[in-house]
Amino acid sequence: MALRSEPVAATTLSRRLPWSRLRITEGTVFSWLMLALPVLFLLAFVGYPFIYGIWLSLEDREVARSATFVGLANFIDDARDPVFWQVVRNTFVYTFAATILKAAGGLALALVLNQNFRMKNLVRALVLLPFIVPTVLSTIAWMWILDPAFSVINWFLVHVGVPRPGPSWLGNPYLAMGSIIVVNTWRGLPFYAITLLAGLQTIPGDLYEAATIDGATSWHRFRYVTLPLLRPVILIVTMFSVIFTFADFQLVYVLTHGGPANATHLFATYSFDIAMSAGQLGRGASVALAMLPALALVIVALTLYMRKR
């Protein structure tokens, strides 16, 4: 935690007299002088939009028209909208599947990278590339890999006997969902792998030696040494990635735009379509806010967990 910089006398005094805890020390003045600007900035550009978004969701508001207050009508519209429920299902399926794949794949890759081999640093740097490169640009490459007419995957499938033109990766609802999950996994897996690798490197080697002397097999060492010690890191990385997968926008917007027939619409892309394409700001804000209960749970849990550590 933060280190104390007040004189000792002030601290003892504050313990005796409750009111004097509000005594303004030089450190407090300095702190708030420093904090004022960034705190005001975040209040204006995160706090205010957040509150304003809640207000918008209670209005019937279209672009360039005056607004009327409608209470919860937008949320009632959401509840009656079959597409909305499809969006809810899609988002949970997408988040769940992609998270499992990223966590399992990331752990596997971390274990592979934790061994000694030549050019390890180069390999580690290459592995992180999907995470570094702007998502939209790498997704354009995936679009071409999954292209209906010229997919490189289909070229191979056709050559091993699958009838032409091969599966329509982004045209079939199930395959499209599978495709966005795979592309999200491709992009996010390095984050898991590199973070878990850093976690693995903090596990002292003598623990493995002791376990080996006690006759533990490599599975046992993984199950009873690696996994328990890695648990906090796995937990944080997973919660972190759940938040940003749940609220994903770019990848789906570029790859499928929510299609075919809304099969891949997530909260973010659906609210974008309603608010930006159809111009219904209020209704769009209500769809975006529908993310909040699930997100808030993870955000608060993660914030508390990170502060405790």
Partner: protein
Amino acid sequence: MMVTRGGWRVRALQLWLPLGFFLVLTLFPFYWMAITSLKPNAELYNTRMMPLLLYHPTLKHYVDLLTETPFLLWTWNTMVVAVVSTAISLVLGVMLAYPLARINFPGSALIAFAVAATYLVPQPLLFIPMADIINRMGLGDTLTSVILTYPTMLVPFCAWLLMGYFKTVPQELEEAARIDGASHFQAMWRVVLPLCTPGFISAGIFAFTLAQNEFLYALIFLTKTDVRTVPVGAIAELIRGDVFYWGQLMAAALLGSIPVAIIYSFFVEHYVAGLTAGSVKG
């Protein structure tokens, strides 16, 4: 870990095979980008030719991209936005992180919680009200709109990362400076901050890559060609209706990735430190 036991068979199974799998998976899209951008159209759209190979390499798509589209202008815009918003975020990040990490003052716990929560609030929760606010401020179609809004994501991140570094500087150093008559500000500026240079590099390049990656705000705020950034320009203008200029798209994707990749390659260690700071060091 113990990998030497069991000889080369075990090593192949535990190391080379999975490593090869992951590397191919990771790098294939980049290979595909590069090779597609170098193929002439006759080769690109010929399903009889083996697609993994390149028969008649050409730079035509690159030439077209640079002469027929405002790609260079988009690159310039992206750089300006990324550099300025990173600089703003580092300054504001220090102003947040320093008191939170080193001074115990009333309200610090609340602010620290708020910063962490702000860091985790995803953009799609805010973009609709933000679009309206930017409109009312008259900032639509200006680079200012994104320079002002990117720091909402970057400041909490930089602050969070820098707090970890600031905490590692021993309190005694600062106290010694204070005894010599330095003010709080001087102690920070002359003693603590110079010791945290690695933290600034980590936070800086991380923020820079995040700014280059941003798409949603840029898509909404920047609707005119001459203010667009690379990701929005590529999506909005290289895909015209149903016509995909695949060669140019791939050239744009590759060229657009290069600035980030170069900076990343110089600072991999710092980048990794930034990436893992939140979850491992805690």
